[in-house]
């Protein structure tokens, strides 16, 4: 047992400590528990990452689908107010995600141009801040494209203007833990899910 200590010609207190240390190193009774504490932490972090990414992506895809169908309803003139829009989105999305109607931020705009600097008839898209908020939320301002009107009794004359539609929706995640780390799981760098649709009013 103390051959090593003897070889080093240690005596007294130092010798006793070395012998104790050797004995400790050979002790294996709690090895499994210690290993589990170390590996388990990494393992559960991994499981947690899978959980976070799964739920975020599931919500994102549900939101994308809900916003796409809601945008279609807006385009054909069935949805005409902001609250109607929220209700429609949350009827599909709210089944999966909590606090949909209170958390949902939206900007629904239609205009003659998507981006025409210097023109009054242009859509001004809301921007998504790093905190995950839309710069101008609860915006709902749409009008249908002007349809061709009868020019005389036999022939239609096209005199209207096409209206483009931009729908932007942000859903701040209700549980901050789902946004870690730094919005990676939401894939847009913010603690919000974001979905946009660009289409045309009918």
């Amino acid at each position: 047992m103390s051959r090593f200590a003897a070889a080093l010609r240690l005596t007294g207190e130092t010798r006793r400590r070395l012998i104790l240390a050797q004995r400790f190193c050979r002790e294996t009774r709690a090895d499994t528990a210690v290993e589990f504490a170390i590996i388990g932490a990494a393992f559960f972090a991994f499981i947690f990452a899978i959980f976070v990414v799964s739920i975020d992506q599931f919500w994102q895809m549900t939101l994308d689908d809900a916003v796409r169908t809601a945008a279609r309803e807006v385009a054909v003139g069935k949805i005409t107010t902001g609250p109607q829009f929220v209700t429609y989105v949350c009827n599909e999305f709210g089944v999966a995600a909590p606090y949909c109607s209170s958390n949902l931020q939206y900007s629904v705009q239609s205009n003659q141009y998507f981006s025409a600097p210097g023109s009054g008839n242009t859509i001004t898209p809301a921007s998504l801040s790093s905190a995950g908020n839309l710069s101008s939320s609860s915006t709902f301002s749409v009008s249908l494209s002007t349809v061709p009107v009868a020019h005389n009794s036999t022939q239609a004359a096209v005199t209207g203007a096409e209206q483009f539609l931009l729908v932007q929706v942000a859903y701040p995640l209700p549980f901050k833990v789902l946004a870690v780390p730094g919005g990676v799981a939401t894939e847009n760098g913010t603690p919000s899910l974001y979905s946009a649709v660009a289409t045309v009013m009918q």
Binding site: F36, D64, S119, H151, T159
Partner: protein
């Protein structure tokens, strides 16, 4: 001897879980990242698909299009939709492209290509009556075609060259697609099909390892909303191929 083996065995079992974990982690991590990657690629593709269709809708509802930047002053009857139409609203394909870039969010729009083409049959063998006195009748079909390809910068702005620098959809010279693929959609004189092809380079996580990202592409086909025997969707500034005989616009003269 016996004691020594037992001793060695106990020592040898130390850290076995750590080693196993270290062996398994790369595989698990690869599986996890692969799943996220495929999901993201699928989402991008679904988004692109929606964009192609929405852009096709935008063009479908346009009375006339141009490659110029928005805003464009509406044209007064130089290319009339109908004989009675006093003003034609001209929609900017460049503006449509910028809208498509907004619709791709939250994915980065940089490098997205938006090809928009239209094929209209001018004359064909299905016109009735099938004889020489019918201006729409011809034994072999002729087509009007135009295409405009826009590219999107990373800040969401679009470049729409006039004439188009490339013709992704209507390939060849003269643009020959109309006589092959799309012709199945354009069977009668003044029939029209609008073809939109959106593509975006997808780098994702594998972009960290591979220099050349894969390109996702989606195509949408729609008909023009105002198709009549005397109307034709025309583009100002696009790459054009015009049939010799024009029968599909009000004054039968403007050739595109």
């Amino acid at each position: 001897m016996q004691k020594q083996m037992l001793f060695r065995d106990k020592l040898g079992r130390r850290g076995i879980a750590a080693v196993e974990f270290a062996l398994v982690v790369p595989v698990l991590l690869l599986l996890f990242m692969g799943t996220v990657e495929m999901l993201t690629a699928y989402r991008t593709e679904a988004k692109l698909n929606a964009i192609a269709f929405n852009v096709a809708q935008m063009v479908s509802l346009a009375q006339s299009v141009s490659t110029a930047n928005a805003p464009i002053a509406n044209a007064t009857a130089s290319t009339p939709l109908t004989a009675d139409s006093p003003i034609v609203q001209v929609v900017s394909l460049n503006d449509i492209c910028r809208g498509a870039a907004m619709g791709l969010a939250p994915f980065p729009p940089g490098g997205m290509k938006l090809a928009i083409a239209s094929v209209t049959q001018e004359q064909g063998p299905t016109a009735q009556p099938a004889n020489g006195t019918n201006p729409a009748y011809a034994a072999s079909t002729t087509y009007d075609e135009w295409e405009s390809d826009s590219t999107v910068a990373s800040n969401g702005t679009c470049t729409t060259p006039s004439p188009s620098a490339t013709t992704t959809i209507l390939s060849g010279s003269p643009l020959a697609t109309a006589t092959t693929g799309a012709s199945s959609m354009v069977v009668n004189p003044c029939d029209n099909v609008i073809i939109v092809q959106a593509s975006v380079p997808y780098s994702g996580l594998i972009g960290l390892f591979f220099k050349n990202p894969i390109t996702l592409t989606q195509t949408a086909y729609v008909r023009w909303a105002y198709t009549l025997p005397t109307t034709e969707l025309q583009c100002t500034g696009c790459t054009l191929v015009s049939a010799p005989t024009q029968v599909c616009n009000a004054n039968n003269t403007s050739t595109n």
